[in-house]
Symmetry: C2
Subunit: 436 residues, 2 copies
């Protein structure tokens, strides 16, 4: 999660130009106090294309942050699909719609084995919320295992299993935290044994393991043979205790990590439930839950679930167009190749800059650890300075990880060689400034 | 809620034409078992305009059911706004966006007094889920009062306070049911006293009263001086116990009930929290929570709430265009006048048809009670026959209420005099057939 000081604060008000200051004041007067603005100097974008966002003055910013416009900002094919279907009709899933069926067939065929039914929602939060409801219904248990700094969304039920949110949504005893699969993953497996024992002892039982397959808010964990082995053991333990595996693919899914399309596929995980969201409609609100029919059947029989805006013809048009662009433009393969070269570039920077420790990543999801050169310890203050320095250099980025000390690198997928070079050049310069 | 037999069931399969049958089979193979299709003979619409939906064959259906496309199916101004903004840029609320601020200012100025902050979400479920989180945080209490057949959405937290869903989401002891304000409302007030005592005794305390101001799934209750007095007493009791009032305007809001715009305004309620959704973007997923700053402040200080797809520039473009059309086409005033004349027409039918008991309504939200002529008792079987008979006559309608015996009448707001006459003519004929 991003530390509070990468956000605008009242003490930054005096430094704003007249236009920005007026917008900020008006915004604070009408939006709820939970809203946040990025950067000490907030940004207003009036146009986007590909990997760039443009201000009123025509300045272009390189987007190394936004994973939602995955096939590129304002992609013309996605935009056209939304416009055409909106002008035709937008109803809901209680009428027949051939395009919804086509899309579901296509998507399920590309998912990990066993996932043979689809439920559409509007947001990733709703998808995770539904997955938990289904898992609890199917198992009769209540307990959930999540990683230590997990983030799974903002409904009451998923905020409760999102330790990275902090604040008042204190985790109940039925929510057990485990380490992410770093190193050989043995700490994670050990945590899981303890967690399962605790849930069984308390009577909550194990309903589900819920994991982001990129472990994004835990600071990103790249797939590896060791991680795969550890996750297999984790899944085995959870299933032996009667629980289900929910793979949260809201961030990693749809090719960001490469042609495997899903983190689950890279880890060799075959989850009973898989959730998706953010990049699914390139910004149109569409998300979903894929599940095994055996798990969904009792829920479907007993529970009414109708999500008014979910899976409507326009939502499907956006999702289909995004899917087609993803494949026609071969973005997952591009993400893999470009991502690998980006990682090499980051590692090269780390050899020259004492604040930059190692980088890790897969596809176009990477993290660069920022440390105090004296002690080698994670350094949040420097990370935040770096994020703001890059904003001044017209590069949009943010920080993540348990200590908020990993640069979070997840640009729109059409990130080009030129974009990579521009990013590395600016990062190099910003790191050089830090040393001064 | 709609009874199961207004839905397609496997036993209807044999009667389907080849095209429909194939779509239904393919759909059932890929969508989760919780999906439902309206009617024994499901419908596929490929085009919509105003109050009409069109099949592949060009048959037009009069829409007396869908409240989401409130300013009319595929309204060209809303469609154009979505298309233009999608082609420009769609980011999120952590960058500045003047259009979001403009919209929030406009909307808050039109809401009941005291509601001075806005939070946008994607769905009405998310808005109610957030309202409950805020109310529980603000009061430190957990208990909620809802009406006996309330429906507030599909997240885990709101399904829990939606008795009309039935099924496994058994209501906890912290959810207390009260009568809707029918008659002089004294039953409701009496229930509330008992419910509050129970919540105080159990230690849950009273976090909120959550009411749909149209009492839609309770079968619709029209505003009246008696209802107003009873609701004032209800709100007083809830507040005296430390709870907040949440007005769920997801269905009644945005002018369906007339120029007062909100059910709360008609009832003289001044809720601390007000949720909205369905018609807000004429089908684009946008919903929201308006609240008093004093209630939101502690939540905003301590809890991170960022909803990725909510309040984006495209969502705001859809909501703004819908709002402008609503006012430029004077649809709330039209709803009031046309709705009153529709009610007169329904009452006239009730004098001639023994199955039709009284009608009630306000604006373009009305209910017609269907009874057994012999006993005068609510008659679900006849209601379902009527819904299917009207579908055969190319009129889309459904049923609601505790016994599923109230015809639910809530067409898009540009419902014309001609639409009214067509509806009344077909309803007259369908009621006549019933008597045979």
């Amino acid at each position: 999660m991003i530390g509070p000081s990468t956000y605008y604060r009242p003490e930054h008000r005096a430094a704003l130009d007249a236009h920005t200051g007026e917008l900020v004041d008006r915004r604070e007067a009408v939006l709820a106090p939970s809203y946040r603005l990025f950067y000490a100097q907030p940004l207003e974008f009036v146009r986007g294309a590909g990997t760039k966002l443009y201000t009123r003055d025509g300045d272009d910013y390189l987007d190394v942050y936004n994973n939602v416009p995955s096939v590129g900002h304002a992609h013309p094919r996605v935009t056209a699909a939304i416009a055409e279907q909106s002008a035709r009709v937008n109803t809901h899933t209680r009428y027949l719609d051939a395009s919804l069926i086509d899309y579901a067939e296509t998507l399920l065929a590309a998912l990990p084995a066993g996932l043979d039914t689809l439920s559409l929602t509007c947001t990733g939060s709703e998808a995770n919320d539904l997955a938990l409801r289904v898992a609890r219904h199917a198992t009769g248990n209540r307990g959930v295992l999540v990683t230590r700094h997990a983030y799974h969304g903002v409904t009451a039920a998923v905020a409760e299993v999102s330790p990275s949110l902090g604040g008042i949504d204190a985790l109940g005893a039925h929510v057990q935290l485990i380490a992410p699969p770093v190193g050989d993953g043995s700490a994670m497996v050990q945590d899981a044994r303890r967690a399962i024992d605790a849930l069984v002892a308390s009577g909550d039982g194990v309903a589900a393991l819920l994991i982001d397959t990129a472990f994004a808010s835990d600071g990103f964990v790249a797939p590896s043979p060791g991680v795969k082995t550890a996750l297999a053991e984790l899944a085995r333990l959870v299933r032996a205790a009667g629980g289900l595996v929910i793979a949260d693919e809201v961030q990693p899914g749809f090719g960001r990590l490469g042609p495997a399309l899903w983190g689950s596929a890279l880890h060799g995980l075959e989850p009973e439930l898989l959730t998706m969201g953010k990049p699914m409609g390139n910004g149109y609100p569409v998300a979903g839950l894929a599940a095994r029919r055996s798990v969904m059947e009792p829920f479907g029989r007993e529970v009414r679930y109708f999500n008014t805006f979910a899976g409507t013809p326009v939502a499907v048009a956006a999702a289909r167009a995004t899917w087609e662009v993803l494949h026609d433009e071969q973005l997952p393969a591009h993400a893999e190749i470009l991502g690998a070269s980006l990682l090499t570039g980051l590692d090269e920077l780390a050899t020259r800059h004492p604040h930059a420790a190692g980088a890790r990543g897969r596809g176009l999801y990477a993290a660069l650890d920022i440390v105090d050169p004296e002690t080698g310890a994670p350094d949040e203050t420097t990370t935040i300075r770096l994020v703001n320095a890059l904003r001044a250099r017209r590069v949009l980025i943010s920080a993540s990880g348990p200590h908020n000390t990993a640069l979070k690198i997840r640009p729109p997928l059409p990130f080009s060689v030129g974009d990579r070079d521009r990013f590395l050049t600016e990062l190099d310069a910003a790191l050089t400034e830090l040393a001064r």
